[in-house]
Symmetry: C3
Subunit: 344 residues, 3 copies
């Protein structure tokens, strides 16, 4: 795909200081962009890179006055403008034919919108529904009675188990599994007897789910990921978990069964939550934090077992002073002994 | 699927206090169950929910005397009864046609039991064996010489590498990989030379393996998961690991090479074991615990490096008192200095 | 596959002390090897196992003088010799027909070397290139414009997203995903707006990537894994990460965005790195280590937050002594009080 600088300027409300018919075919950061690419300057710290950039064009702030071998596009919000152009290139890269590939296996009782894109070797089972404009890359499995909402995009080799519902504009990255059985057993005759997992998963609009993540269906009822939440690679979400809106769950986080995570929460990488607790709205769990009890709204916790972050930091600082503490104690003991001798 | 209350009562040994011809089509927890569903009361704590439940029927203890708009089924063990009914609904949901789907690719030297269910786009390679009543969902790969035991159930996009043996009634969730190469190299000429991994994996009867889990084949010999062990999502089990019977391995646990884990052990979520150690029967490792040396049978450990859980908790409590400890030390120093002055 | 002891001796420069026409069909460790298999003795500690081994043949050091029911092959470096024979058996196990399977879907604008092996149900999209001698097992997806270098081996159900480049002799294990979108958003109108990820991933020669690992493409530019680096199962590597040559990344490690990891670094299992830091050449991060700031070359760090390993160990030792410290403090306080009483 290619765009002229004039087309770009029109899309982002910029002014071209040079030949508007020049064409770019990609976008990259200021340090990496080369000929044929457009880049941007948002942070004044990097202004020194503009004069020597190899890029064909640079989106710069309105008040930028420096020179450059590249053609400059002046605009009010360069980063937002760059983002819009990235989106254009990205959509172009990810577009797929609006058709059912002849090797896809669509059950006759499934409902597929005419403008959905169903890739090669997808399997779409009975009573499921693929809504308008949804895209399934090759090798996606959609189980019986599942729903893929309008505009959603499923990358290769994704598994959507039966009855699972994805909302509109959901993105699921390659290898992710949604609706796997929850991990539940009862002791019976000295062994673990499986508790059937007959609930499901509801993923609301605008959620994104990372590569090889796994979200379990509820035992009964619903595991729910609310609108706008973003989930990174290799995250585990157990049965009956409820995650609120616009929450950010970083890579390799694990959330145990029936935990409730609020809105606009941040769970940093590799952190873990025990089951049945609540993490309040806008709380933050630090990287590798091990949360063993509920976290009030707006609170930042870290460490294992997780505690208020400031306190955890203070305790870490005290711990680092332990060698000196032992020295001081030893000195005290000696001085005290000396005093005791003298006074006896 | 639908069951009459009479059929349910017969299956679980209950007495119907109402119209036994009423039909239910699903089962759910007491708080969530709606019309057309059956639920249960086991814990007296929830008895207040029975009168107002929206469920069509409730399985209750024999001595339950409360009223309800729902039809009550009295039985000795309500939870076990509910579990049996859940199992009926779950089996119905997961049943697949006892046939080889025409798009499945079964090598002519593979052996597939006549009543196995082989889904669309499965690949079953030479000399492998799929036993009676086994189910392969679409997109499963079974490598050369591998065995899938009777009654086992493999969800979509599972990879069973060559020579791997699964016992009877094994469940493998979507995206799991069994028999990937162990992670072994020798230094050679300043680089890492791969040690070929020519062993295999044996998974015994009644084991369950979670979504996107990975179990490596042995370098030589066998990585073994013994009967009845349950493994959650995204677990990593390295080459030559031995796991005993009826052990529970929670999500995102990692077990390093050649570790031996006993029977009825519990490894809580995100815990990790270094290689070549032993974890004794009925030991427990706490969430995120980092086990760096062998754990005796029956012991509970936690933290990093993992130590006896009670001791770890006590040390955590002491650590939380460090700020006060420093205060006390400072005060002691001041008082001692005062005394020294006085006595000099 | 079978080899005579004569053929083996020739390959590894050994001398057969017995019938060189005897045939073996496999290789295993000294404790496990049985009839028809060859094993080895490298560590003198295990010499007592040689006389009673059930193996057909044993590769032993030149100066080994013990007896055995097995046929002995004397050579200078028994382990290296054994490794070579393992490699022969392993190559035989993993060899696949040099053809494009009739069910594979190769875009007509893709370029596939005549001697590549393309398995059943692979999808190879436009403008991609599969080089000489590369092997794709069944169910592999290779996106548009991607490159699979000569001699590389991709196990079942691997996803290589568009534009990703794999070098020569790269091994990717089942279920791994390379080139998934980086996890990047900007706040916009109170929500998370996705930053399109239009960069890519370059995996250089001789890299190995474990089962169900996930490596994200760069936002713009390149996520790079340099030559010879080995990555274990379920590892997460975020967008724009740079990993140097011959580094070892153990299972379930997580590397956050834009981190730079040097050459010959070791990241032990379940360790994690925050974004934008540097880990110097030949540094080591201990198991479960949580690295929150840059690590100088050659340094060993562990714990959370990660610090120099020796210091972390020392602080752990001090922490274990806290109960006694409190006792000593209490005693000091009592004695001081006594002194104060006396001196007043």
């Amino acid at each position: 795909m290619q765009l002229t600088l004039g087309e770009i300027a029109e899309r982002i409300g910029a002014e071209v200081n040079g030949d508007a018919d020049v064409v770019v075919t990609g976008a990259a950061g200021l340090a990496e962009a080369g000929p044929g690419e457009i880049t941007f300057l948002a942070n004044p710290r990097y202004a020194t890179l503009v004069p020597t950039t190899r890029a064909t064009a640079v989106i710069v702030p309105k008040d930028y006055r420096g020179n450059s071998g590249a053609i400059l596009l002046h605009t009010a919000e360069p980063y937002l403008g760059f983002l819009r152009i990235l989106q254009v290139f990205a959509e172009d890269l990810s577009a797929r034919p609006r058709e059912v590939h002849p090797t896809a296996l669509v059950d006759e009782r499934a409902e597929v919108a005419p403008d959905a894109a169903i890739g090669a070797l997808c399997v779409i089972e009975a009573e499921s529904r693929i809504e308008a404009g949804a895209t399934l890359c090759p090798g996606v499995f959609v189980g019986a009675g599942a729903v893929v909402g309008a505009g959603s995009y499923l990358y290769p080799n994704v598994t959507i188990r039966e009855q699972v519902e994805l909302g509109r504009n959901v993105i699921v990255h390659a290898g992710a599994v949604i609706g796997s059985d929850g991990f539940g057993y009862v002791p019976h005759a000295g062994r673990h007897e499986k508790i059937p997992q007959v609930g499901t998963v509801v993923v609301e609009d605008d959620v994104e789910i990372g590569a090889n993540a796994a979200i379990d269906r509820a035992t009964t009822g619903i595991t729910r990921i609310a609108r706008g939440t973003k989930i990174d690679n290799l995250v585990h979400i157990a049965h009956n978990v409820q995650v609120g809106e616009d929450t950010v769950i970083c890579a390799q986080v694990g959330i145990s069964g029936s935990a409730k995570v609020g809105k606009r929460v941040t769970l940093a990488g590799q952190s873990g939550l025990v089951g049945h607790i609540q993490v309040g709205d806008e709380a933050t769990v630090g990287g590798q934090g091990g949360v063993t009890k509920s976290v009030p709204p707006g609170t930042r916790v870290s460490g294992y077992p997780a505690m208020q972050h400031d306190r955890a930091r203070r305790l870490n600082a005290y711990t680092r002073r332990l060698p000196k503490l032992f020295d001081r104690l030893r000195e005290l003991e000696a001085r005290l002994e000396q005093l005791e001798k003298e006074s006896s």
